[in-house]
């Protein structure tokens, strides 16, 4: 669908995650090439959100490795031994990775414009006028140029999520993570958000999208991964998997969500 290279941007290898005694991720391997849209589906509790959150270290990694570009996420490797990165170094890694949350998590005390400007000005130290211009362009790109002065509480869920996408894009990330971006939306508002994501995919952004929107996976996805019980059950071309799932568990899940 989109322009993809064979150059891997994200490599997840043997990822395990424990929450106390709960073994939530049981050895996940996933590679996402530059410019690829990788869609992850699965029942709730399958670990798909946890995996996504590990990629920008909102969850610590219990075992395994994640690298984005040439950077090992969360660690420095010295003589074969892993050393935890400092908070500042982790923050620097996160700047390259945009994230969109299920509950939007816009800053409620700032207008849409200032939500988008916040990180470029405060983190990258960009000039305010330059950041404002870029932010207005981004808001225009997500169809909300006229809502720049609105506070999040004055926007619909779909509008909030589009501001959240603009906010993540403002840091000019090389990778975008979407954690069920349409799950908290009224059905009629889902389309606008998906359209923004489709445009983003077409522009060549590398994306990992955890979602229940099978239609989006079929239309935009370059790869579909089905997770269940903390493991990858099936992974491959979205259209093939949706039309002809190989595993019984995938078949059962798809029959219920389609």
């Amino acid at each position: 669908m989109t322009i993809t290279t064979q150059k891997p941007l994200v490599r997840i290898e043997g990822l395990h995650k424990y929450f106390g005694p709960h073994h939530v991720l049981r050895g996940i391997d996933l590679t996402v090439n530059q410019g690829e849209v990788s869609v992850v589906i699965g029942p709730s509790g399958s670990g798909k959100s946890t995996m996504l959150r590990c990629v920008n270290l909102l969850e610590t990694i219990s075992a395994g490795r994640i690298s984005v570009g040439d950077q090992l996420i969360g660690y420095r490797e010295v003589n074969g031994r892993l050393h935890d990165l400092k908070v500042k170094e982790i923050a620097a890694q996160r700047r390259e990775i945009g994230m969109v949350f299920q509950r939007f998590n816009l800053f409620p005390h700032k207008t849409a414009l200032y939500n988008v400007m916040e990180a470029p000005v405060q983190v990258k130290g960009k000039n305010k006028a330059v950041a404002k211009k870029a932010a207005l362009e981004l808001l225009d790109r997500v169809g909300l140029a006229d809502r720049a002065n609105h506070y999040p509480a004055q926007l619909s869920g779909g509008q909030q999520q589009r501001v959240a996408i603009a906010r993540a894009l403002a840091m000019e990330p090389e990778l975008m993570l979407f954690d069920e971006p349409t799950s908290a939306l009224d059905p009629e508002l889902v389309g606008d958000v998906l359209n923004v994501m489709k445009d983003l995919a077409k522009s060549g952004m590398t994306m990992i999208v955890v979602t229940h929107e099978i239609g989006f996976a079929r239309e935009v996805g370059d790869r579909l991964t089905f997770m269940d019980g903390g493991v990858v059950v099936e992974s491959g071309d979205p259209r093939e998997i949706i039309a002809n799932p190989q595993h019984a568990r995938t078949k059962e899940f798809l029959s219920r969500v389609l």
Partner: protein, 324 residues
């Protein structure tokens, strides 16, 4: 929403008979009656000595006392707020030493009476007649003679401020905890550092929760300053009016004067609190949407001034989307 009705005649509004509230009339009569009785008694009873109230209400000592009381209140609260932010942040820190230090501070200063603490700060002058800052075993850089009697102000501010910091620390901690964890996560995902997340994202939102009880504490502090004679500090409003009352053997009019000034200052503080609450409530407590911006103009000028063409009365709907 009303588009379907356009073109039709305006509906006849329901002109229903409202429910009567006889209880309101009865309670009003009782309360007004009681107030009239009190006013009548206050005017006709000569023992109130309103003439003395009039003579002393603007007495230099009294007005200066108001000034000192305000200074004590403001200084102690500023000290307490700075310490409380520090203590609340320490309490949330990953560093266990800071966490326990904060806990211990709150335990100690909340667990001993403020009067005892004020007495102690007054007596520090016995333990340490001078405070000096310098290099250990080396030269002194700054020194401050605590035993100087005019210096009772500093021990008074310290006593009030440190005690208050323990209470405020708990208010700030509650405020910080009230902010959704998603806010921190969103800021972290943008690559913001810990300090920026606290100052720019979490604390401004926590202030909505923190300001009302802090206003309460400030008004409480205004009156707690009357305990500073324990230090002793003898220029505040309560001490000034008590001293006058003892001199002229008329305590009641001077109590009225003190109450009047405390009420006046409290009222002013409440006005201030109203504006602070309004400031920190922006985006949350005010749901009126601003006018839409003309997108073309916005793009062209990269400006955010509301367009004149926008509908001023536009109201947005915002469905509350609660995640399960």
């Amino acid at each position: 929403m009303d588009h379907h009705q356009q073109g039709h005649a305006a509906p006849v509004l329901n002109d229903a008979v409202p429910v009567r509230h006889p209880g309101r009339w009865i309670s009003a009569i009782i309360v007004v009656g009681a107030v009239i009785l009190m006013i009548q008694s206050a005017i006709t009873n000569p023992n109130f000595r309103w003439d003395v109230v009039g003579t002393y209400i603007l007495d230099v000592k009294v007005v200066q006392g108001v000034g000192w009381t305000l200074l004590l209140t403001v200084a102690a609260m500023v000290l307490a707020i700075v310490l409380a932010i520090l203590l609340a942040v320490m309490r949330q820190s990953d560093n266990p030493v800071l966490r326990y230090t904060s806990w211990l501070w709150v335990w100690f200063f909340r667990g001993t009476p403020v009067y005892t603490q004020l007495l102690f700060w007054g007596l520090v002058t016995v333990l340490y007649p001078t405070i000096s800052l310098g290099i250990p075993f080396g030269p002194q850089l700054v020194s401050y003679v605590l035993s100087d009697p005019t210096h009772g102000l500093i021990p008074a501010i310290l006593g009030l401020g440190l005690n208050e910091s323990a209470y405020l620390a708990e208010i700030f901690r509650a405020g910080l905890k009230s902010v959704d964890k998603g806010q921190t996560e969103a800021a972290e995902a943008l690559g913001m550092g810990k300090g920026k997340i606290m100052w720019r994202i979490v604390l401004p939102q926590a202030m909505r929760i923190i300001v009302p009880p802090t206003g309460n504490e400030t008004i409480g502090m205004l009156k707690t300053t009357s305990l500073v004679l324990a230090v002793p500090f003898t220029l505040d409003l309560t001490f000034a009016t008590n001293a006058l009352a003892n001199r002229i053997y008329l305590p009641i009019p001077l109590l009225i004067i003190a109450a009047f000034w405390y009420l006046l200052v409290t009222s002013l503080l409440m006005v201030g609190q109203h504006y602070i609450e309004k400031y920190y409530g922006k985006g949350v407590d005010t749901n009126q949407a601003p006018a839409l911006i003309n997108p073309a103009a916005a793009k062209a000028a990269a400006a955010v001034a509301p367009s004149a063409e926008a509908e001023p009365s536009l109201k947005m709907e915002f469905p509350e989307e609660e995640a399960k």
